[in-house]
Amino acid sequence: MEKNLLTILSIVLLCCSCNPSKTTELIDTESVVVCVSGMATEEASKSGTTVSSYFSNLLTTEYWPARWTCGQWTETEGWMYIASDAAIFLSYLSIPIMLLFYIRRRKLDLKLKAIVALFGAFILLCGFTHLIDVVIFWEPVYRLSGFVKLLTGVVSLGTACVLGLVIPQALKFKSPDEVKISEEKLSHLKDLLHEMSDITMLGSWEVDIKSNKASWSDMVYDIHEVERGIEIKVEDGINYYHPDHREIISKAVKDAIAKNEGWDLELIIITKSNKEKWVRAIGQPVVVKGKLKKLRGLFQDIDQKKRNELKLEETSKNLEQLVEDRTSELRKANQELESFSYSVSHDLRAPLRAINGFAEALNQDCKDQLDDQASQFLERITANSTKMGQLIDDLLEFSRMNRKETNFREIDLQSMITKTVKEIFPDASKSIKINKLPTIVGDKEMLEQVFTNLLSNAVKYSSKVAKPAITVSAEENLNHHILTVADNGVGFDMQYADKLFGVFERLHRDSEFEGTGVGLALCQKIINAHQGEIWAESKLGEGSSFHLKLKKTS
């Protein structure tokens, strides 16, 4: 079997070798006959060739004629054949040499090296088959030729198989154009990164645990104001930190090494030119296969931002202090005001009482001695001191409301106003109509004061009409209650409406209607404290309406 295979292979190879002579074969049948007879002779004589005998006598030439003598070669035909084969051989020889050079110069992985070597061997073997074809013109080493071709066939097949396996991978390789585009993209990204680093003043660093060497990006050097590229050790990096912060960063590094913990800290460094600078230092351990290999992180100049932050913090602290100071000043002023009004209420009232009292005493004790005019003067003294007493009382009440803290709760207006009317305006209660009133939220004492004042005004200013009619009513919208106290009294000219709520502002003379001009000012103050609104509408001679707008929930 083995023998047969070799025989067939040899015949095939021989035929291939003899191929160029086929054309001549047609021309000269005699030499063909010679060759064929030679072949036949050889075949007959070594019918017992074995594999071992084949290889032991590989270079034998005795069974075949040299190619020059096989067929009728002209000089031109033969030398063209020889020269071409020689050229092919030389080029096939040079290719593996170049590949060898390539493999040695270029770093390739082992697998790729093997493929290139295999390819080189395939080319080289092909080259040798052509060399042997040249040799065969003089020395018919057909056995060697057969062997080399066999070898070439095997290596070619192997190369083909490997190529078949490698092609799908090779397809994934980028073409030079694609590589160029990728490189452009990469360089663009690099530029962007650079720009970003410049704008954000953010650099990166890495420390190799084994060598204890740190590598800094340019920005990190720049932040430290250190010449770029200088060799840095971990300790050097730490020593750039402010003495107060050195311990913090040392501990962070130690923890990162011992516990695999990262850090993100805002600390001060002292640059090479002795400037204090706030930086954000971020670090992360890099663990490969459970083993700490590197520390890696970012380093950012946050000096301006941090200083602004600190300034803002200080400003806000100062502001708080200022508010506190002002509040305590206000509290003090309030206390002073309180003691002032305390004095007023005592010290101003006492002499008034004396004036009033002694005028009255004079009137009682010496009535007989006084003429009409003197009596009248005395009456005026009494009336004025009484009026002044009222003014002081109202003023005190007004200032008391300023200082009073509100105490909000639910108030049933219906019962509150009914009670007020009954207690304070018993004489006028028949002319006061109270419609259905809601329950609202407010300070009861304050609102009682408001309705007392409004009702008192309504009663006073409608006292001169034949049939006084006063109505307390309520309306509501989505968010507010609108409460109204209306009368049919003298009313007022709307052009003075804005003066109504000023302290001591009056629209009527005392001789018409008595008053101090404090009541409505007080009402407005109270309604303001409830974040509500108060306003009035009137027509001279037809009465007035006072409206309160209060939030449904306070």
Partner: protein, 144 residues
């Protein structure tokens, strides 16, 4: 008509005018005559102490103004109400102000009554008369 010669009312008041008007009001009723007028807190405390030690009968009413020189009315009230011998004496504060601060303080110290003096004289007369008559004639105080 003089009911008794014992001191019935002690008036503690620094203002001559107020004192004169108050006494005029009290006396106008013709029921009470024996009024002792003391012009400041210190004098008042000393008087009450010495009277008590001398074994004199206790006054039926102390009318106390709040604004006084040296020791103010509130402090006088405090001393009276904290003194074992004096604390049963009825003290009525008669003052110009109705400051809630004063009201609270006086009541927490145990004042027996708190009256605001009206400016209008006829009302003042009326109030003063009523107060003195009530405490001197109607109210009972423990003997001893």
């Amino acid at each position: 008509m003089n009911i008794t010669s014992e001191v019935q009312i002690v008036l503690i008041e620094d203002s001559d005018d107020d004192a004169a008007l108050t006494m005029r009001a009290i006396k106008s009723s013709n029921l009470v005559n024996d009024i002792v007028w003391l012009k400041d807190g210190e004098e008042a405390i000393n008087y009450l102490k010495s009277e008590n030690e001398a074994g004199e009968a206790k006054p039926k009413l102390i009318l106390l103004d709040l604004k006084l020189p040296k020791i103010n009315g509130i402090e006088v009230l405090e001393r009276i109400k904290q003194d074992e011998d004096l604390k049963k004496m009825p003290v009525v504060v008669m003052t110009s102000s109705k400051e809630s601060k004063d009201l609270d303080r006086c009541y927490s110290l145990g004042v027996n009554s708190y009256v605001v003096k009206p400016i209008d004289f006829s009302r003042f007369m009326d109030v003063t008369k009523k107060v003195s008559l009530y405490w001197v004639l109607i109210n009972q105080i423990p003997k001893d």
